[in-house]
């Protein structure tokens, strides 16, 4: 049997790959969703695609991991575990694949070892292939994941993150492969993770060949992005030089930054004499047809800028971050500065910071720094907390060279050498008391949480609790198609929406009129739910969750206020931590809150010493630049 079936032992899978006459394809639906649709492709669409994707005979379906778990609970309101269970019912034979960021798991910062192991154990119940990477290619950062995946009897697919530049030689990467194999043993698949879609077909072919020369029995999985429009070339070069598996996805949904269309891969390589093993071409085509007309409902999440970006070879942003970066630029009103940021500042920052791999969370550090450098005027004048941690070596050692001293001085201060000496190096992160966390969660949601709920909570404490509460209030909303869930504007009065709920019941909802109650200003929305009228009342527009939606202040105004102890948000973002209490004394320079934007955390500090008299925000608030955070009064 040629096709690799879910349930086979890792050794069997690897043996089959070694002797296969041709190459396999992984459908990277998750990466397509992340790169070209800001991670919003709904489970509803994946469920529509499931029967034909199952018949298509892919090596695996990458359907979870990366940022998707966070977005599942934050913006798609779907349980990432339930998603895998439901898809498994429809796809019994296809292996499911995840993308795991090593110690950073599916998030942006290192987790304690026991959290990593607990999380991997829970997800390994559904996930067969574990693609694991570290943005510094620092192998110890991936070790706990390797161990738990092997223990669960699932397939380890460690990555070497790929980039270009004088340091990125075959020898360097072959050494990394050796380091990996020393840890994992040989029953693994090696992934060349080309998250930016960098390098020419020639370069990728060379690298695959070089690795194959050193490790002929090691199956190679090439992962690329089509940002420059030429991933087909790189995929073909990889297969010709001995790669066993390549990544692509459904053509009707492909965009500019994600995977290349799988049918094009199949057709191209067929002419070159390479067979896509196990693939049913008709089913590949059918999948695209089935989901084609869903694409219109995701239009809001497609890139602001259309067209391929061959300049990715200069700025090296990973496909998965392109969409969100452009969105931030559009929302922040600096789309016009993109050429400067992408083609001048970003390559410069990259070189200055050690030419490491531009992938999560390293790519966010590069991007945030480049944007701050262009927007803020003074380069490295407004460093993020994560850049500071990068320089302190919290993510691991720089792979090639360290940034120059002046950068350390800018970021860590004049006594940076002392700071580096005292705080530098990777932290031993203490294990969390999981039973304590379980109790905390159960208090927050009012029921004993399941292990899966606890896993989600440990990853994203606030967002997981919000999601559990959302589900209690609104039910299992994955049953709603994007035409409803992502609907923009009002529905037409009289239009009929129908769907089948999680429990198999059909529902028909007719949109009725909306009326404003003159007494209390409430809007009443009339719906005919299963032929019975229901009325839903909404309080008059008060921006829920938006604290102090004040006027936007300039940087100078914010700094002037800071000197009076009036601490304002320096940029648009979310409050992720409040570090002080009202009545507490603070020193000048002491952190009062932590803000997060673009997944990067930045401390907000008090400019003066005094007593915190007011805190105007709460954790989770989305605030604008200039919004009040806290007030510090000089202690008299």
């Amino acid at each position: 049997m040629e096709r690799i079936i879910q349930g086979m032992a890792p050794s069997e899978v690897v043996a089959q790959l070694r002797k296969a006459d041709g190459y396999y394809i992984t459908n990277t639906a998750r990466d397509l969703s992340q790169s070209d649709f800001k991670n919003r492709i709904l489970l509803h669409t994946d469920m529509l695609a499931a029967p034909s994707r199952e018949r298509a005979g892919y090596f695996s379906l990458e359907i979870t991991g990366g940022a998707s778990i966070h977005v599942d609970i934050l913006r798609k309101q779907v349980d990432p575990f339930l998603k895998l269970q439901l898809l498994r019912e429809k796809m019994p034979n296809t292996m499911f694949q995840t993308l795991c960021r090593g110690v950073n798991l599916f998030g942006y910062r290192p987790y304690p070892q026991n959290v990593i192991r607990f999380t991997v154990r829970e997800f390994a119940k559904y996930v067969d292939v574990w693609r694991t990477f570290d943005f510094m290619n620092h192998i110890p950062n991936m070790q706990a994941v390797f161990e738990e995946v092997a223990k669960a009897g699932k397939i380890n697919e460690p990555c070497i993150c790929f980039s270009t530049g004088p340091e990125h030689t075959d020898d360097f990467y072959i050494k990394k492969v050796k380091d990996i194999l020393d840890v994992t043993g040989t029953d693994i698949i090696l992934c060349i993770k080309n998250h930016g879609g960098l390098g020419s077909p020639q370069r990728i072919g060379q690298l695959v060949d070089a690795i194959k020369q050193s490790y002929p029995d090691l199956p190679i999985h090439y992962h690329g992005h089509n940002t420059d429009g030429n991933d087909i070339g790189r995929i073909a070069a990889a297969v010709i030089n001995g790669a066993s598996i390549v990544d692509a996805s459904d053509s009707s949904m492909t965009g500019y930054y994600g995977p290349a269309p799988s049918l094009t891969v199949i057709q191209t390589l067929k002419e070159l004499g390479y067979k896509a093993v196990g693939i049913d071409e008709d089913a590949v085509i059918e999948t695209s047809e089935v989901i084609r007309d869903q694409r219109q409902y995701y239009a809001a999440f497609e890139s602001q800028i259309k067209g391929f970006q061959p300049t990715v070879q200069i700025h090296k942003l990973p496909g998965g971050a392109m969409g969100s970066s452009l969105e931030q630029a559009a929302k922040g009103g600096f789309l016009d500065k993109m050429p400067d940021i992408l083609h001048k500042e970003l390559p410069r920052v990259q070189k200055e910071l050690g030419n490491y791999w531009s992938v999560t969370p390293g790519s966010q550090i590069l991007w945030t720094t480049a944007v701050a450098n262009v927007q803020g005027g003074e380069r490295y004048g407004n460093p993020s907390g994560d850049l500071r941690n990068l320089l302190l070596g919290k993510y691991g050692p720089f792979p090639f060279y360290q940034p120059e001293e002046w950068i350390y001085e800018k970021v860590l201060g004049t006594d940076w050498k002392k700071v580096l000496e005292q705080e530098g190096g990777m932290d031993e992160i203490e294990d969390m008391d999981l039973e304590h966390e379980r109790t905390t969660l159960s208090e927050k949601i009012g029921v004993e949480p399941t292990d899966q709920q606890l896993v989600l909570y440990l990853q994203h404490p606030n967002d997981a609790v919000n999601f559990f509460k959302f589900e209690e209030e609104f039910g299992k909303v994955y049953v709603l198609p994007p035409s409803i869930f992502l609907h923009q504007g009002k529905f037409n009065v009289g239009s009929t929406l129908s769907f089948t709920d999680h429990y198999g019941k059909e529902h028909v909802i007719e949109i009725g009129p909306s009326m404003v109650n003159e007494h209390n200003g409430e809007s009443n929305v009339y719906l005919n739910v299963d032929h019975h009228q229901r009325i839903y009342a909404f309080a008059p527009e008060a921006k829920a969750g938006v604290a102090a939606a004040a006027t936007v202040l300039s940087k100078e105004e914010i700094q002037a206020l800071a000197k009076n102890g009036d601490i304002r948000a320096p940029f648009a973002g979310n409050i992720c931590e409040i570090s002080v209490k009202e009545g507490q004394e603070v020193a000048a320079g002491e952190q009062v809150a932590m803000m997060e934007a673009m997944k990067m955390q930045t401390p907000v500090v008090s400019a003066i010493a005094g007593i915190v008299t007011t805190i105007s925000v709460k954790v989770g608030d989305a605030i604008k630049p200039g919004a009040k955070i806290a007030k510090v009064d000089i202690d008299e």
Partner: protein
């Protein structure tokens, strides 16, 4: 021309009575106050008379009702329960106007409505009673009488308004000091509420079961009973759940109680349908409490287990027919439970939900299920009347079957708009003590966990809530 009977009531009981009237092939006349103009009892009647703007005062206005009966040519008036049902002046006014009052005579109502006279009649007939006093004398003499009684029977003691009833005008006294303080207060309250400041005392039976007997008597003196009902599950002396027959295992005791009830009815020259209420203490001693001279809210459970249509019988007896069945014809079959589905929030001390519109009303049905209600989808519950929406009565062969049927029915209800007592009842029917049939009047106080529940809307409601929100905001704030 068909006979016309005027129904001097509103809500579910007006409809219940009209059904009987219509089955007898008579015509029903409804009366109403303005806040009730959308009430279904008006639509079901052959004709309707607006009494006035109310609220509550016109349903209590004897003159207006007699006038309405005369104008429409009604030959009889059924008073239902509450309002004028136990007002002897109303019965008397009917008698004087030559209109048949469907109930006992005004004299019987008057005697039994006066707690002290009633106790005297029962004492003469040898009916067991909770120790008590006649009306207390005025002033300090009355206080001294009270303290003497307390010295003999010990506290707690109930201080009752002679003309009170339905849980009103009673207070619990636990010390001499409190007795002194409360007597004048009770008097002035009784004066305000019942226009009679008489009060008396009764020894308190602690955590009794409330068991009552349905009796029926015709004018020729035939008096029979229709078995017992247990109405122990109450809040603030207002019944919530009623069961027939009583779950007391000692059948001989129940028979004795029923015979006592018949004796009590005879002693008071009772005619038509009535209810003799008893308290039963933990040692199964039973004490006469009072006779209610009206159809009870909970008459449905008796109808379910006996097959006797009590309201139909009431009308026939009032029109002068003799009882068409004897005591030997009455067989008690199975069990029945009635639950009052009220528009109230049990979690906020049964705060009424008046003023809200019932946007969805779907009711259960099926074998052994009876609904006596008047609510419909789109109905706005008036704030000025009681909060009863519908009575759910189920009948089953065994107790277990009956409990599971009532649970199923509660689950099958779908009422949107006001909060209701349904989720609270769902807790009750799943309570082990209730399932065992083990409850007395302290049930709610001793089972505080019954008030712990979360109302979970069904999946369709939850999903439509999100759709409503997307529609309202023009975007899905949880996705963007």
């Amino acid at each position: 021309m068909k006979k016309k009977i005027l129904v001097a009531n509103r809500g579910e009981i007006a409809i219940r009575i009209m059904r009987a009237i219509q089955e007898l092939d008579y015509e029903a006349v409804a009366v109403y106050e303005t806040p009730d103009k959308d009430s279904r009892h008006i639509r079901l009647a052959s004709e309707a008379v607006l009494l006035g703007d109310g609220p509550r005062c016109d349903y209590l206005n004897i003159e207006k009702i007699i006038k309405a009966a005369k104008r429409t040519g009604a030959c009889a008036i059924h008073p239902g329960y509450g309002f004028l049902a136990e007002n002897p002046d109303f019965a008397k006014a009917c008698e004087d106007a030559g209109i048949i009052f469907i109930g006992p005579t005004s004299e019987v109502i008057s005697n039994l409505g006066n707690k002290v006279i009633a106790r005297r009649i029962m004492a003469e007939a040898g009916i067991p009673m909770v120790p008590g006093t006649p009306n207390l004398s005025a002033g300090e003499d009355g206080v001294q009488e009270a303290l003497t009684f307390a010295g003999k029977y010990d506290y707690p003691i109930m201080l009752k308004a002679t003309c009170g009833g339905g849980g009103r005008g009673i207070r619990l006294i636990e010390s001499d000091e409190q007795m002194r303080k409360e007597i004048p207060v009770a008097r002035s309250e009784a004066k305000a509420a019942f226009n009679d400041e008489s009060v008396y005392l009764e020894k308190v039976v602690i955590n009794p079961k409330h068991v009552e007997v349905q009796i029926i008597a015709d004018k020729e003196g035939a008096t029979i009973h229709l078995g017992t009902r247990d109405c122990s599950i109450q809040r603030r002396n207002q019944k919530l759940i009623e069961i027939a027959p009583s779950m007391i295992g000692d059948k001989e005791l129940l028979e004795k109680i029923c015979q006592t009830a018949v004796k009590a009815a005879k002693a008071s020259n009772y005619t038509n349908a009535g209810t003799v209420e008893f308290l039963i203490d933990k040692d199964f001693n039973y004490y006469f409490m009072e006779i209610n001279t009206r159809v009870q809210v909970e008459h449905t459970v008796t109808e379910m287990i006996t097959g006797i249509d009590i309201v139909r019988t009431q009308i026939k007896l009032a029109l002068g027919k003799p009882l068409s069945f004897t005591q030997d014809d009455i067989q008690l079959r199975g069990h029945a439970i009635e639950m009052r589905i009220n528009a109230e929030d049990p979690q906020t001390d049964f705060m009424p939900e008046g003023g809200k519109t019932v946007s969805v009303y779907r009711s259960p049905g099926g074998y052994g299920v009876r609904l006596d209600g008047f609510v419909y989808q789109g109905y706005t519950i008036p704030q000025v009347y009681d909060s009863l929406l519908v009575k759910l009565t189920v009948h089953g062969f065994s107790w277990n079957e009956t409990v599971s049927r009532v649970r199923r029915c509660l689950q099958n209800f779908d009422i949107a708009g006001p909060k209701t007592t349904i989720p609270f009842y769902l807790n009750i029917v799943q309570d082990p003590d209730f399932i065992k049939g083990d409850f007395n009047t302290s049930f709610l106080d001793t089972h505080p966990q019954l008030f712990e529940y979360k109302e979970t809307p069904n999946e369709a409601e939850k999903l439509s809530k999100l759709i409503a929100e997307i529609h309202h905001r023009g975007t899905n704030a949880y996705a963007f």
